[in-house]
Symmetry: C2
Subunit: 370 residues, 2 copies
């Protein structure tokens, strides 16, 4: 194996694989990237077993071949090489020689055959979605995916076809205290697996691959895995084998009070007042009345914070407690200038949405005030 690649292209390629490989795996091969040099260019493959990245990159391949090499070591080198053409060559004893200007490195490689094989996936049913829409849907649901809950179903975003409506896909996530719901149009066919739960790390990785990309993305769902594809990149994802809760029970069916607020203003006030919301639940007191909204928080031994802002309330005044971070997470992923909160009683869930955008909605459970 031997190929030439510019330092910058090599860096771009290795940056892509860094998110996938396990940094401190006890199985060294899982910390490595498989490099496949073919006449048309190089393919880099990295896997953490749950997810496999396959990326094609331009390179001047002199001798086709393949080898695996520690991804972190290779990346560390690539980052500091002079801005020149890099020669990568498989030498004796699986030693990978990397040369650039007056620099040369020899990396210990692994036989390509040791690298885990990516299971094949039925790609007969593929959906196509605009990258801006998929970005939005992931941004609007990823933050509420539980990080490591032992209710395994909460560790992913649930994907579903919307019953009765053609060609709309919905992502739903919840960590038990809040719920996110976001949908987007697609073309093609949503090949429903048994349980379409995309794990947190897979969502983050897809989101990363969509950064700065404006074309269409493809997803093919199989029984236990899905394949995400943008030009030059494939991501093979194992789906979560768990049950997502019946989220429809949580959605409020009506409301007693409705408040319209300016999103930026609420965001800034809430950020400030929540500096003193340092209890576990980041509790902030929301007092809605005809005069507007007063936010207050208290940090023991430190002091109090207070913010006043205009709010357009329909219904009786009410005082409720909310986790400031949950509110801020939602405000950060809405796109319009206004936000609507639909409220019941003091301990009823609060529904948040953009009054001019039907594509997403958010439910936040209140916290009990002392």
């Amino acid at each position: 194996m031997e190929f030439l690649i510019t330092r910058d292209d090599l860096n771009r390629a290795l940056t892509r694989v860094q998110g996938i490989v396990e940094k401190r795996s006890t199985t060294p091969i899982l910390s490595s990237v498989l490099i496949q040099a073919r006449p048309e260019g190089i393919r880099m493959v990295a896997t953490d077993k749950a997810m496999t990245f396959l990326g094609d990159f331009a390179a001047n391949v002199r001798v086709p071949g393949e080898v695996a090499v520690d991804a972190a070591n290779f990346f560390q080198i690539a980052k500091v090489l002079p801005p020149d053409v890099v020669t990568v060559k498989l030498g004796d004893n699986l030693r990978v020689e990397v040369k650039c200007g007056s620099s040369s490195f020899k990396l210990n490689g692994f036989a390509a055959a040791e690298f885990p094989v990516t299971p094949p996936l039925d790609q007969s049913r593929v959906l196509t979605i605009a990258s801006a829409e998929l970005r939005r849907v992931i941004d609007q649901t990823l933050f509420a995916v539980a990080p490591e809950d032992n209710r395994y179903g909460l560790n992913g975003a649930h994907v579903e076809d919307i019953p009765g409506e053609d060609h709309l896909v919905r992502f739903v996530s919840t960590d038990g205290n809040r719920l996110c719901w976001s949908q987007a149009p697609y073309q093609g066919e949503l090949g429903i697996g048994r349980k379409m739960l995309l794990p947190r790390k897979a969502l983050s990785e897809i989101r990363r691959l969509l950064d700065g990309y404006e074309g269409a993305a493809e997803i093919a769902f199989g029984e236990r895995a899905a394949l995400f594809r943008v030009p030059g990149v494939m991501l093979h994802l194992r789906l979560l084998e768990a049950d997502f809760p019946d989220y429809r029970q949580v959605l409020p069916s009506g409301f007693k009070r409705r408040v319209v607020l300016e999103r930026d203003q609420l965001q800034e006030s809430l950020r400030r007042v929540s500096i003193f919301a340092t209890d576990g639940a980041h509790s902030v007191r929301f007092a809605f009345s005809g005069d507007g909204l007063v936010l207050t928080a208290r940090k023991l031994d430190a002091g109090d914070s207070r913010e006043e802002l205009p709010a357009d309330l329909t219904g009786e005044p009410i005082t409720m407690g909310f986790n400031a971070r949950f509110f801020l997470d939602v405000l950060g992923v809405l796109q319009g200038p206004r936000v609507v909160a639909e409220l019941g009683d003091t301990l009823s869930p609060c529904l948040l949405r953009d009054p001019d955008d039907e594509r997403s909605l958010f439910v936040i459970m209140p916290v009990r005030l002392d």
Copy 2:
């Protein structure tokens, strides 16, 4: 106490005190900043006992007075306030009210009398030094001050008047494996204390205060403390009560070999090759010969790195080992395009300096190669 100050001025003032206050002190008053409002402006005082910062800032003082308040809490608030005028007022029960636009905070304060008193210092003998020179001298010595050595004398930079030469001050630091030596001209009088050892944290803080400042700085050395002063800021520093070693023994008196290198080139090559110098001593093999310098390193289980660069050697070829970081630290604080290494035998100390600048020199002990 009551004063008005712009959000930005308040932030600037509080940024200054953050480096001094102890973040997690068991004595709450040491985590606080003392605010003294006087008709001419406000003074902020912060201390960690070893060091006291006194800074004067412009403010519109309505009611003079003083109070201490938790510095981290106050800073956290100041950072997020809207860009407007902030009113700071001492209310009942030592509550400090901070108002800005629609935001208001109440911080629990401490009585000013609880704040530790800064001991007075004899300021009759003061030396004046150009800030660019003092910055250079600190940059060229601080990195070799031992972080926390139980040989206490190594935990500071030794300051001395140069015998036989008027108005040159020299800073010397060592951690036992390397030595830095840097001198600068001054005006005024160097009021020699018994032992002039400036602690590491004091040096960092002085360096921070010199950032972006181009005027002259003043230092008054007393018996056990020193006072550093730039316009609007005083820093009271307790000197280290320990003995600095007799560093002159370490300075090589002659050399057998002399090598001239391009500083940038050596820096870049060394950075690259040292990626694989991951043993405790960051060992890199330096092979000097008539053909130039070859740098090599080996990381167990990962691979080898190699760099070639031109070097102008006078004397016999030699191969030595050095800690790459020690070399890089020195290369980073030299200012000219070239660097000279004066070498003895394989295990003799190496003297590094700029061939065109007599103001500083550096000694690095080699490491034993396997």
